[in-house]
Assembly symmetry: C2
Homo-oligomer: 715 residues x 2
């Protein structure tokens, strides 16, 4: 489900580059953060051994098997792939291999139909064309096209075109005297806030009777470039499937919010579940949408609403009148999470978790099978390393999630299931969703991980450029005219939309999420398949395999570092930028005194910088004598991210417990959500309360930094 | 032919606002420039009388007659309209009414055809659809569609798509290994440098065998808004006709450069004429162009080359193979210029000239009949004013030009014909080409006229907003996000493309050009007709009539001012900005010393400011005692613009004699052309010589300013 490019773009628009890696003592260009020179040398030997084990042919074999058939969550094929994953984990020597099942709400479609009744009778095909060159699109039955968690119903109404279905779009329509209430709205998938569930949420609030979401050729089709099967962009009949769950309210199985969907847990009623939409929604290709859009009268839509179809877009309402019929079953279905470990030699209870989801909308070549192939290959390589004497100091957990496409279900249920243990022992969660749709490295993470991520990017060579990934990224962004501010490799504005959510927002674990991106117009369509990947996304499987190296090195550095490589002074600088960005909200400077908060963050930054200087000196000068000489210090460092959890969550969204981040509308990021949302709503009392909570956390973290300073061995 | 919006946009991009009207003593907001308070009061009474004579119904009657039939230059109908104009001038009491004929090169088409031979056989219709609601498009035979001055020939070749056909476009194709030589190029009408003759010139230089120019829907069709007959934008079959004469080399009849095409003047041979293209060129609708563009292979065209048609644009060459056949006759045809005067009461030899062209490509509702209706109505109103005791002090000349659409022919021949008298006595030329395509006032002029033009704009009320035109313009531009720099009402970056060219560039007369603009996608198509104007451009003829007021007030102020209202200090400030903009050319700062020139302009500015202060004091304090007390001063002021003429013209273009301005490629402006073109070509010796010429002129003007100071009556 991840749309890293969107998040990256939004982030660079919203915050710009405030953090510079060289600010931080942990981020020395020539060092491996958290390692003494001697330990670093051992670590790099381990990583060289890892590099030697990489095998693109092995990645390719996994990928071929994973993308052979459609494998959506709840399907027999996806269970088969869970077993395949379990079997590979076992074959590769992983320990504690488990196949866990969760029983969750996963309604499948019975009937999905759209007809235009007036001014011309017409039934939408809701099907994607086959191309002879591509056996997957040509020969398979991929089942009915639908949006997961759509309501059931049968409605008829005049149509309005509401651009992207954002609040401002409906506001404009109302300003023209066009009331969305009781209408069927057709909207396009587009930036910003492109999560389709947010469109459904907004349409539901506006009284829209049914929502049609189509792919405009200006956004992922011919206006972008060559279309499938001649290029990577979406052809005329491609349809973006997906769920519309209100996962930005609460993710995971809608019937067990905050609790795992295991036997014995009670389920709430569907009408009590806040993440279940009450609106009928159907996805469409532009070919199916065209006759409807062509038959809208009313005002000419604003210039920015015009898309790539060959006519002037109007808003309606009507004369196009449409009937939409959706019937979903009330299915509760079983999903499978597969986990395995490389048990740590010194601190086996401490966990570095590597996760990726397995379920796809159809074949899911990019999303998620590129990541699943990377996961299986990472399991093989790490297993082999452990067997050959490179067992990590701490435990690595590899996880294959399920039903991410629905409500981030598998990872959320698993996180809720093992919350206690994870809360205590998870060092970091490293997410790879779609590992590869092209050659452009994209990284998002909490800011404490920036230097570590940059160090890894400097040590991995890009298969195309033959330069390291960091340098490749630097040259690419410098050549990009859209990049105005000094950009960072790591995007620290974290939204949601992938499996790191439970770890960050519910458990307070540091997270990172990684992918290689490229031109990709077939997202969630049946054309996201083997043919697409081998012709456009990653011919030769070189980037899928490079991701094994990135992921593996990153996990091993976290698992082996003598001192956890968290850059908390850089983190403070980022949080200072979050605070500064609050002043973009009207009246904030008059109504909120940000000075105390700002001073508290600055105190945290200074204490952290002091700590990191001590750490750096200690690591540089004192080779480790015993494996646990830093254990007390590490224990403190592990507690920092957790300080930002609030047991009651942010206002209105109790599941989202992290005070620094929440998704705005799934994909889009929102920092300091409690203060920000209250300020945007001009609720200054609530905003001040939320600001107080933050200040308290900043002070706690500064205190932890001071404590940690006393625990750095002096000699 | 005028495309004021283009010029305005380019100007605001190129120079930004350097000149502020309030800089100038002549530009006091509350005054009528050039008038003492007492004379101003009389003048404003005259203008009120003018206002009372305005009659939108009379404008409408002229307009209905002018647009009844197609009337291109050289046609019987256009001769009939010349006679109609002459008869109205006589009816309205104009004096010295003349219908002059010039015999010029005006080849008409015998056959124009375009076929696609491969990969699909297809013949382009080269016709525009009729719409039942509109009798003009439905019932008339408008003749074959062609580009004036296309070469004749019959060629077959593979096609390339070359974006807008600019030098950079061909450079990009060459960088991809695509050689335009021997190919047929298809290009779109577009910004910048949109003059089709420049596209032909560039294509000819690149060895292209034939040029197809089509209207992309992203530029003037459905992507802009509602299309005809439902809106003002171009429908699928609309075709932009026009000439491709290299009028930026030399305008006027190609066979008599610099001389009038009258009996007894010798003609040069066609193959000696530098403004005659040697390439075959045909205009197309997007509907005719689509099959060709759809059948191009080769690389995907860059993002900025993609247009509004529903596929990914490629560059070719081929597989589309096209045959283009054009046969033009070698016609020399007669064109008619009609003139009449309101003879001045005090200084009848001094002339203020109001001109507009009459010839159209088809019905020419906007271009030029809106202006022609305005001209006839202005004749009626000014004639009536003179009869009722408001005869101007100096002579007004009203002119109806012909064959502007070909090579600015009529005005150029007339200007060359009467060069001696005009050189001595023309105070200003006031051009109205298309007077009305909407409600947005657009003014371009030499900078000395800025305050006068602003004073008029402040005294005319906008029919829609009920605010004055200046205030209406100010609010509109402030609301426009594309206007970044403080914009000016008057655009002082003068290109060409309308009838002011001979007056400015050949005769050194101050010029202004006026229009009301709006959304207009049917330029030079048969849909630029009565239906279009009465439904979209100017229902009620209110702006066409408002232009009578603007034009009339402006002409009368120039004709009646006690002291010519030329703002020469503001002019100097503008020229200083022209000088500054030279430094944008690579190496200019190293290779050219602009200090001397800059100091000379500053000296001019200071002397002019001193003069204008004296003039202002004199006018404010000393009511005029005799009509000719300022005649010596005025005689000096009249010589200023002429100082910038150089008898040999600018390098390579001897007809263009003005050293401050030349058209870059007809529409686009170029200031200080001699220096600029030499610097762009890195010919520093020539650039220095041209700079010397300028400095000499700046010094002469400063000296004239000093002389003028001594002629301002002290008491």
């Amino acid at each position: 489900m991840s749309r890293c490019m969107i998040v990256t773009l939004l982030a660079s628009m919203l915050v710009g580059g405030h953090v510079n890696a060289s600010d931080s003592a942990v981020g020395r260009d020539d060092a491996v953060p958290g390692f003494s020179p001697q330990a670093a040398s051992t670590q790099l030997k381990t990583e060289e051994a890892l590099f030697d084990l990489l095998d693109a042919k092995s990645t390719a074999r996994h990928f071929r098997y994973l993308t052979e058939e459609p494998h959506q969550a709840g399907s027999e094929r996806n269970r088969r792939l869970a077993e395949y994953t379990r079997d590979r984990f076992l074959e590769y020597g992983l320990e504690d291999v488990q196949l866990l099942e969760y029983e969750v709400l996963l309604p499948f479609p019975v009937e999905v139909k759209v007809w235009m009744l007036e001014p011309v009778a017409y039934q939408a095909s809701l099907q994607e064309d086959g191309y002879e060159v591509d056996k997957d699109s040509w020969s398979s039955d991929v089942g009915p096209v639908y949006l997961g968690m759509s309501a059931s119903g049968d409605v008829t109404a005049d149509v309005i075109y509401a651009n992207s279905g954002n609040p401002a779009d409906y506001d404009w329509l109302l300003s023209q005297g066009i009331d969305p209430k009781g209408k069927i709205a057709i909207v396009r998938y587009s930036m910003p806030y492109s999560y389709r569930g947010f469109k459904a949420w907004e349409a539901q609030k506006r009284g829209v009777k049914a929502l049609l979401i189509y792919s405009d050729p200006a956004e992922d089709g011919y206006r972008k470039g060559e279309v499938f099967p001649n290029g990577p962009w979406g052809p005329e009949s491609h349809i973006q499937r997906g769920a519309i769950t209100y996962a930005f309210i609460v993710p995971g199985d809608p019937l067990t919010p905050g609790r795992p969907s295991i036997e014995g847990e009670t389920r709430i009623k569907e009408d009590e579940a806040t993440s279940i939409p009450n609106i009928i929604a159907v996805p469409m290709s532009w070919r199916d949408a065209k006759p409807i859009l062509e038959n809208l009268g009313g005002p000419v839509a604003p210039h920015s609403w015009q898309g790539g179809l060959p006519f002037t877009y109007h808003t309606g309402a009507g004369p196009a009148k449409v009937r939409v019929k959706v019937e979903m079953d009330d299915g509760r279905r079983s999903i499978q999470v597969v986990t395995g470990t490389i048990r740590g030699s010194e601190e086996p209870e401490k966990l570095v978790i590597l996760g990726n989801h397995r379920d796809a909308w159809v074949y899911g070549a990019v999303d998620p099978s590129s990541g699943s192939a990377t996961l299986l290959e990472t399991a093989r390589v790490l297993g082999e390393l452990a067997r050959s004497g490179h067992r990590p100091r701490r435990t690595l957990v590899l996880a294959s999630w399920d039903a991410e496409e629905w409500h981030l279900t598998g990872s959320t249920e698993w996180g809720e299931h093992f919350a206690d243990e994870l809360g205590k022992n998870a060092i970091a969660y490293l997410n790879v969703d779609s590992s590869t749709s092209g050659p452009d490295l994209a990284v998002s993470a909490v800011a404490s991980l920036n230097p570590l991520l940059e160090s890894v990017a400097r040590d991995v060579i890009d298969p195309n450029t033959r330069r390291n990934l960091f340098e490749t990224w630097r040259r690419r962004t410098e050549a990009d005219p859209r990049q105005s501010s000094p950009a960072r490799l790591v995007d620290n504005d974290l939204g949601s939309g992938s499996d790191y959510t439970v770890f960050l927002n519910f458990l307070g674990t540091p997270i990172a999420s990684l992918s290689f991106d490229g031109p990709y117009g077939v997202y969630h369509s049946q054309y996201d398949n083997f043919y697409w990947m081998t012709h456009f996304g990653d011919p030769g499987f070189r980037y899928m395999t490079a991701m094994v190296e990135v992921w593996g090195r990153l996990a091993l550095r976290l698992a082996n570092a003598e001192i956890y490589p968290f850059d908390y002074s850089g983190y403070a600088t980022t949080v200072q930028a979050f605070l500064d960005s609050l002043t973009d909200i009207p009246d904030v400077e008059q109504k909120l005194d940000l000075t105390v908060a700002s001073n508290a963050v600055e105190a945290w930054r200074q204490e952290a910088a002091r700590l990191q200087l001590l750490v750096s000196q200690t690591l540089d000068k004192n080779p480790p004598t015993s494996p646990d000489r830093f254990s007390e210090l590490n224990q403190i460092l592990l507690r920092v991210e957790r300080q930002f959890l609030h047991p009651e969550g942010i206002p209105g969204r109790p599941w989202f417990k992290h005070l620094l981040y929440a998704p705005r509308y799934t994909y889009a990021a929102m920092s300091l959500p409690g203060v920000r949302e209250a300020a945007e709503a001009q609720d200054w009392e609530l905003a001040s309360q939320q600001l107080e909570l933050l200040i308290e956390r900043f002070e706690r973290v500064a205190e932890l930094m001071r404590q940690a300073q006393t625990l750095v061995p002096a000699e």
